[in-house]
């Protein structure tokens, strides 16, 4: 294995980007179609210890080659990471393995047998289980009902579901793999981490030997991620094979035994984590050198732009989601809010942007009380907003980019005179956005719905940043965005900060909020449980805070500030030396 991998690394090093970046050993075979048959037997014995072998997979969609002659060899009992940017073809490749897509060319070999999967059903029967990024669970059903769905054992000659047997089998699986999941619990009541375990159980229940996890950590807290790594260890210890898709370098190097990198639908080589580093991986992913560290120079902050006092907000169910939060954001400052989703950050942001009226408290903006201002007035006053849900609030999906480019600006004088929109002008503006923010494909007339999530996000970010704002409220600005574009968005945020724009940043990516923020508030159950200096808190401490556990720290200024007069910056003290300490564990690097 190690041999193969190191060969592969060197092999691809020389041929990178040529489209035939398979392992060195198979260079000869994959080079030309007709020889494939002859070679099948030649490495037939090698294949017996491969759980999955995807051989020269090519999958085309109208106008795009999603996978171009991609090879993937996964050894039995190993964890194999599939690393790549958004749109690199990782999910497509896995959907081929799972029978959702039929490849135009190439072979799917599972357990040494060549397979043609017409549907997920076939893949399941062959022992391939998929854990999708968005869990495929029915929230209103119980754990047991979900796990057995589509595969229910029956009794009374098929008349009724054998519920006792399902429960028994789930308990057996839980015992074997050390899961603590109650089969009778309703899925909607479970935390995301447990739901993920239910998904894994679902695959195991169907007898899966190969588990494919699509971006498994995207929704987890740092503690839950650790828990997931333990689960993966336990699974591989029992002979299961794991393939996980990710665009996060740390995860690939941390958890995988081997990493295959995809770029633009082509394989950019397979490497062993010990023999590589993040810069190398990033370069393979993006195809150019990427600056992983964020340099945020200390800024002298200006006047207070946004000030929130004692904000209390009820959510749609009438439950208090935000309880008496105070904070200020000054010009030239990034204030980060970290927290597990659903702890009130959405409601807080809605109150600030004017999408929801706070039940108590006042919001001032540039000195004016804007608590009762409409959304329209707030936009006109220079408040930009990158919304959390880009489909729901960021874009009108059936509109093209030209139309989407002036959402919120449709009355601005440069685009509309006397109520009529100057489409020529808007189109120029759209072209600028597309070019500056690298939206692909660069087609202003395409519907927003036809773009990938990452490109939609880049477009929204561009629209909001180019509005000449004095305050940017950015929620998850890089969610679903690949490394290259993330770097760009981060740079733009820092530029805006440099220009004296006040920025309120909400993100569930800890490294992001830590690296960008000048001050970092942790929200838990509707309150700021702590306000910290991002350079002086470790990722572990942050994770604990997000889980509601207050850490005892001696560090100045980062003690409990929850009921204080609002968070106040510790100006200047951005100890850059902390960065080097933390980054050894992936702390500040991105």
């Amino acid at each position: 294995m190690t041999e193969t991998e190191s060969e592969a690394e060197t092999g691809t090093g020389s041929t990178a980007g040529s489209g035939q970046t398979g392992e060195a050993r198979t260079d000869v075979e994959t080079g030309a179609g007709p020889t494939t048959e002859a070679t099948t037997s030649s490495y037939g014995e090698a294949e017996t210890d491969l759980a999955v072998h995807l051989d020269g997979i090519t999958k085309r969609f109208p106008g795009v080659v999603a996978n171009d002659n991609v090879d993937l060899r996964v050894e039995r009992g190993s964890v194999h990471a599939l690393l790549g940017e958004n749109g690199a073809g990782k999910t497509t490749l896995m959907n081929v393995l799972y029978g959702l897509y039929e490849p135009e060319e190439g072979r799917v070999v599972v357990d040494g047998t060549e397979r043609m999967f017409d549907s997920p059903r076939d893949a399941i029967d062959a022992g391939v289980g998929m854990i999708h990024q968005h869990f495929m669970l029915v929230d209103s059903m119980t754990v047991a009902e979900n796990i057995a769905l589509g595969d229910e054992p029956t009794k009374w000659f098929g008349m009724a579901v054998d519920r006792a047997r399902i429960d028994r089998e789930i308990r057996e699986l839980c015992d074997r793999y050390g899961f603590d999941v109650d089969p009778s619990a309703t899925v909607a009541d479970l935390s995301v981490g447990v739901q993920q375990r239910v998904e894994i159980l679902k695959a195991l229940f169907r007898g899966a030997d190969v588990l494919v996890l699509d971006e498994p950590t995207a929704v987890l807290t740092p503690q839950e991620v650790e828990g997931l790594y333990d689960v993966l260890d336990e699974l591989t210890a029992q002979g299961k094979t794991i393939i996980f898709i990710t665009h996060k370098l740390e995860e690939a190097t941390h958890a995988a035994d081997a990493i295959t990198i995809l770029r633009d639908g082509e394989s950019a080589g397979t490497v062993v984590p010990d023999q590589t580093n993040k810069n190398d991986l990033a370069e393979r992913m993006v195809g150019r050198e990427v600056l992983l560290e964020i340099d945020s120079e200390p800024m002298t902050t200006g006047d207070t732009v946004l000030s929130a006092t004692d904000i209390t907000v009820e959510d749609t169910r009438g439950i208090e989601a935000v309880s008496g939060i105070d904070f200020d954001v000054r010009a030239g400052e990034i204030v980060g809010i970290a927290g597990v989703d659903g702890n009130g950050q959405a409601e807080l942001i809605e109150a600030i942007t004017g999408l929801r009226t706070p039940d108590e408290g006042t919001i001032t903006y540039d000195g004016a009380d804007i608590t009762d201002w409409s959304r329209r007035r707030r936009i006109d006053a220079g408040m930009s907003y990158v919304p959390e849900d880009r489909h729901e609030r960021g874009l009108v999906m059936p509109f093209n980019l030209v139309e989407n480019s002036i959402l919120g600006n449709q009355r601005a004088s440069e685009f509309a005179t006397d109520g009529r929109i100057d489409w020529e002008n808007v189109r120029d503006h759209t072209d600028d956005l597309i070019e500056t923010y690298d939206v692909r494909p660069p087609d202003p007339d395409a519907d927003a719905s036809s773009f990938s999530g990452g490109n939609q996000q880049k477009f929204i970010v561009g629209r909001e940043f180019e509005r000449d704002p004095s305050l940017v409220v950015a929620t998850h600005p890089t969610r679903g965005v690949d490394v290259g574009s993330t770097e760009f968005i981060h740079d733009r945020l820092l530029e805006l900060r440099q220009q004296g724009v006040a920025i309120l940043l909400v993100s569930s990516k800890l490294d992001e909020v830590r690296a960008l923020s000048d001050r970092l508030a942790v929200i838990y159950e509707g309150e700021f449980i702590d306000v910290t200096d991002p350079d002086e808190i470790t990722e572990e401490e942050l994770g604990l805070l997000m889980a509601g556990q207050r850490v005892e720290t001696d560090s100045t200024g980062s003690s409990t500030a929850e009921s204080g007069p609002g968070i106040r910056p510790d100006a200047g003290e951005t100890g850059d030396d902390a960065e080097t300490n933390a980054s050894s564990n992936g702390g500040r690097s991105r």
Binding site: R121, M136, V138, D139, S140, N146, E152, A160, V161
Partner: protein
Amino acid sequence: MRKRLGRARDTLAANPTATAVGIFGLVLLFLVATPASWQTSTLRLAVPIALAAIGGIFAEKSGVINIGIEGLLIVSAFSSIIAVHRLGDGGATMGLSNLWWGLLIGVLVSVVVALVFAVVCIDFKADQIIAGLAIWLISLGLAPFVSRIVFGSPNTAGISRFGNVTIPGLSELPILGYLLFDTEPQVYLMLAGALGGWFLLTRTTFGRWVVASGENPKALDTAGVDVRKVRYAAVLLSGVFAGLGGAGFALGTLGTFAGGGDTAINGRGFIAIATYLLANYHPVGALLGSFLFAGLNSLQTALQSAGYAIPTELIRTLPHMSVIVVLVLVGRTRLPDAAGEHYESGED
């Protein structure tokens, strides 16, 4: 007022068991406190509502809101009467009473119309509400039209109805005996339909697939079950249940079909929808709920014949008004997450 209603609603929602017991208690009270003739009339009037509601549950649980159930009741009621009339009133064909042939044909026609609805909604992705309304409007016009061709009038000729079927032994029980075990076939069908519907929905693989298809079709699809087939089956099943309801009602309770105005069905399909929402998609709950509305219907008839000086138009709105009151009290039922949404496999 709004607050108080809201609180009442919260209390009801928080205690589903208590609510169910409460409804059941009301039903029992009704059984004990009212004259026997009124009770039997209520049961017979409940037939189309209960069966249509159970059918509607399956369709909606699978993600297809079948608002055309009123139309299914109309076509099945009408076609069963016309079938009996054509085959010969009171006779038998191939050893089976023509009434039963009428029932079968009524169900068949209802299933065919449900199939049209299913094709339009599932394969052609039409808006379910509009397609459902179309089914209703077409049925509303078609039944009197055919009737006029056959009988020269929007109302059909009368037929001799189903007679009572007595179950020996059980019919001796007090109250329940004459109510449930010495009654007409359509009432038995209704009772069996409620229990069978409950079993099918909650205890079988098909039932689970139906629920999953309405809540998260993608989850079902990735589990290797064809969502399209499940939805087709569920909609066709709603056609079977509604067909049994409509034909049973026409053959057992009415004995004729009046095609004028809102037809003899007179909005019972829509009340059925309110009933299953009230019952939160529980088939047995829908049966009990249908007793409530059918009881009010009997009350309305009783009030009218008693000659109270209340305008009949006002009395006639009683069951419909009560639907609104009850739905306000119970509050919004949680619809299946994917109800009304189209699903296409392979979408990413």
